[in-house]
Symmetry: C3
Subunit: 359 residues, 3 copies
């Protein structure tokens, strides 16, 4: 189960060319995402005539042509031409989903179009300007339910084990939990590590003893926003172990956004961009280091993928066996409850006023 | 649903070697098709003993040997030898299907053997002698229900869209319908295009302004018989827009046969041969043009395959959503009703007299 | 259906390295098989915490570490460490299966651990010392139910047909049955072939006219133990057609063990080792002949695989159609009845006293 009144990443901006739609499946629904003259449009991927794939269609200015029998759709989804037929039935229309282009990704609003709210698009933390960062994009497909990926991201005690080879996080990450705080739309995780020596997977960025801060929000419907940085020793205590002034970071300053898109109940797509600060010993000005950052990130996410896909197979084999929670599952629990509340609220509101565009 | 008292193409004549059977599945039934000394035989692909595949067997003159435990079958399907056992049970027999070798394909009668009727084998149009044509064969597998392929062939308004890259048909093909006539066993489509300049996918066959005639029958259980030719300008009017004398065609004279075999509910096999007339600027005497004809034909059928397989997936995802018919669907409607009537008649007659060989 | 209170081969000893578990599925149950300091251990492949795959874990001396969130298990399956959590729930335990390392394979007892009985591990025939043989190992995966492989091995009349190309057995093998005897835990097959000239697939081992003896036991839950040898002409009569003194064999002396492991209802794993006697014109001292022996053995087993996988597909398509037994099915019938009795006995005893470790 997933919330519908939320933005999901359907593809990257670069996936959508000028001439042909891109086919993407979100929450089990096939979408044809195409570029009209002045905007990106998302249609259900099904022609009203005989269920042909509109994602095999052709962009014609403000319109999309189905390339089976030539029906032409305007950007609102309405049929405006049926070659060889004069009359167009008034209900000849496909569903169009609200779209936002945000951080170079195409986000699609899967719920009631009337409720589509740009303010619900996630943003990086205050004080982070992406222009200051050397950024790289990556994506992966997991043959697993999106919830298992969320669970992974809601408990970073897996770092020293799953990512022993990539991130090389110290065992300390598993032994003490992060500070966890419930948000209206997710869960916030923060921690200071005093007397840290930074992360070592990019050797040239390693520094001496410092105070390292890591914080991330994990937000419904499955978005992670993170900032990490090394600060002068003593900073943690000086700011009373609260969130620091990011501009005072001295090394290994990075930020990233991760979005988990449920494709089907057993497949998820994982979008990520990760940036290293150009100044402050961040490495973001050095193309080799930026490339190395992506390499390690994808190595780590593939470690997650191996673990989570096997987990999915095991669960499929014995779907009714319960888990045994540990102290590290608090974030998972908070997020799971929040999501259940939001889904219940959506269901209640749908009962009052059914969606106009519901199938 | 498909008619059973009909001939279906199970394989090509060349598929069946002298020594070993060919395995083919028609209407979900596995067949072992093998070459006896004087004829081609089609068995159900299941040994009576322990369900071994007879298609893994060995041809021995007039008999087929199962290569699991050695049972020997005569061409009627009767067991004539069980190595090591003296007595052969009287019911030791596999089903044998009536077979016809016709136009170099192996056609199998899937219904009541007593009703197998060679007259139901489709033939090219009167006036077409295949010896006059340079012929090439092709085949494809579609991961889709055969009905979706029939629907495609029953509405040629898809030509300018699906086949924009291959056949390069003008938009006119979508804007005006063909003349459609119900037949006892299918639907007949015919059209004249006056002031046409022929098809351009084989440049060397292009001619000046002419009257082009195209006609095809789409016949139960899924066979298309076609003739196309360019005639001197004025011919359409001279023959009152009826069927012309094929011998008067001057260029681009071609004929073809296409057969759609339902393999399973989600897979179909597509057999085609296409011939270009050797004379009359047909190109049929030029091996390069004959080869080019097959190349374009398969390119086009692969365009259909891409479209139809996506359509099948979309229908599978939302099987209950209705289509929205257009003016072009008349042929589809006529054929669908005819097929339903034929299936209903078969069912009624089965209720009266069950098949002797029914499983 | 399979018996549970039996040993099944889960993998070879070489599959289990010092550092990481090996993942194997037996009777549909995923296992993580790992090497503790002094023994091999088999766990259910599912961490108690969140169903992560223990087969992705790390061996740490006498313990296994789950590499998702770091839970540590002792060799009995009990959790002994949860990083970051002081208290370990008393039921934090995974199922551990009894294990035996036998003939270089890892055998796992799938039933009640209290009943695990080393005496039920199959052994080669009395008088066969594996040290005297040049031995090679092989394995295959069949996409078929294990019962179909058992049926194959319980009726050697398939030899002249399925293995016409590999073993080149004479038609005589199909025409007369072996002597068949019911055992408490399987079925025994024996035969003398007088005036035989041996098997010809290894030409250099062929000898003149002799008496050849072949005998094998096919044992629950799916293990074949075989001995074959050529004896001086007259031996058969001299020992009244009973089992000969193996030490008197003069050529082509071989022994082998075959174990069929049901992976799922539609997949089986086939383990085999086959040995040629080093002396007695056995070929076992010649590496080229030993290698050739494996080559022919795997060729033959792949012939079985082709036949049985097709058989499985045909049965899947028409699961309710009965077989037609022949005189050769006596071994199949005896074994099938025995297995049914053993399964029924297990079920009855489970009803009395449920397994402590049952899921």
């Amino acid at each position: 189960m997933h919330t519908r009144n939320d933005w999901y990443v359907a593809c990257t901006d670069a996936d959508v060319t000028a001439d042909h739609p891109f086919s993407s499946t979100v929450l089990g629904e096939r979408l044809a995402i195409w570029r009209a003259a002045d905007k990106v449009v998302a249609f259900e991927d099904r022609c009203v005539h005989r269920a042909a794939a509109l994602s095999l269609g052709r962009c014609e200015g403000q319109n999309l042509r189905c390339m089976y029998h030539g029906l032409l759709f305007d950007a609102a989804g309405k049929v405006v031409d049926i070659p060889g037929q004069d009359v167009i039935p008034p209900n000849a229309q496909v569903r169009a989903y609200p779209v936002a282009v945000h951080y170079d990704w195409i986000w699609v609003w899967m719920g009631d179009p009337a409720l589509a709210d740009p303010a619900k698009l996630p943003t990086l933390f205050d004080g982070v300007d992406l222009d200051d960062y050397g950024v790289v994009n990556g994506e992966l497909t997991f043959e697993a339910n999106a919830q298992l990926i969320s669970d992974n991201l809601l408990d970073f005690s897996h770092l020293p084990f799953v990512h022993a080879a990539s991130f090389q996080a110290p065992l300390d990450w598993a032994k003490s939990p992060m500070t966890i705080k419930q948000l209206d739309n997710g869960v916030r995780f923060e921690r200071w590590v005093e007397n840290h020596t930074g992360f070592h997977f990019i050797e040239s960025l390693s520094i001496g003893v410092n105070d390292t801060w890591m914080g991330y929000d994990y937000l419904v419907p499955g978005v992670l926003v993170m900032f990490v940085g090394c600060f002068p020793a003593g900073t943690a205590r000086a700011c009373d172990y609260g969130r620091p002034d990011f501009s005072k970071a001295i090394a290994q300053v990075s930020t990233n956004l991760q979005a988990i898109t449920p494709v089907t109940e057993k497949r998820s797509h994982y979008y990520v961009f990760t940036g290293l600060h150009r100044a402050a010993s961040g490495g973001g000005s050095d193309p080799a280091i930026v490339a190395r950052n992506l390499e390690v990130t994808l190595q780590a996410f593939n470690e997650d993928k191996t673990m989570i896909e096997a987990q999915q197979q095991i669960i499929d084999g014995q779907p009714d066996r319960p888990f045994m929670p540990t102290v590290h599952d608090r974030g998972v629990t908070l997020y799971t409850r929040l999501k259940a509340r939001l889904i219940a609220a959506e269901t209640a509101s749908h009962a009052d006023a059914p969606l106009e565009n519901a199938n």
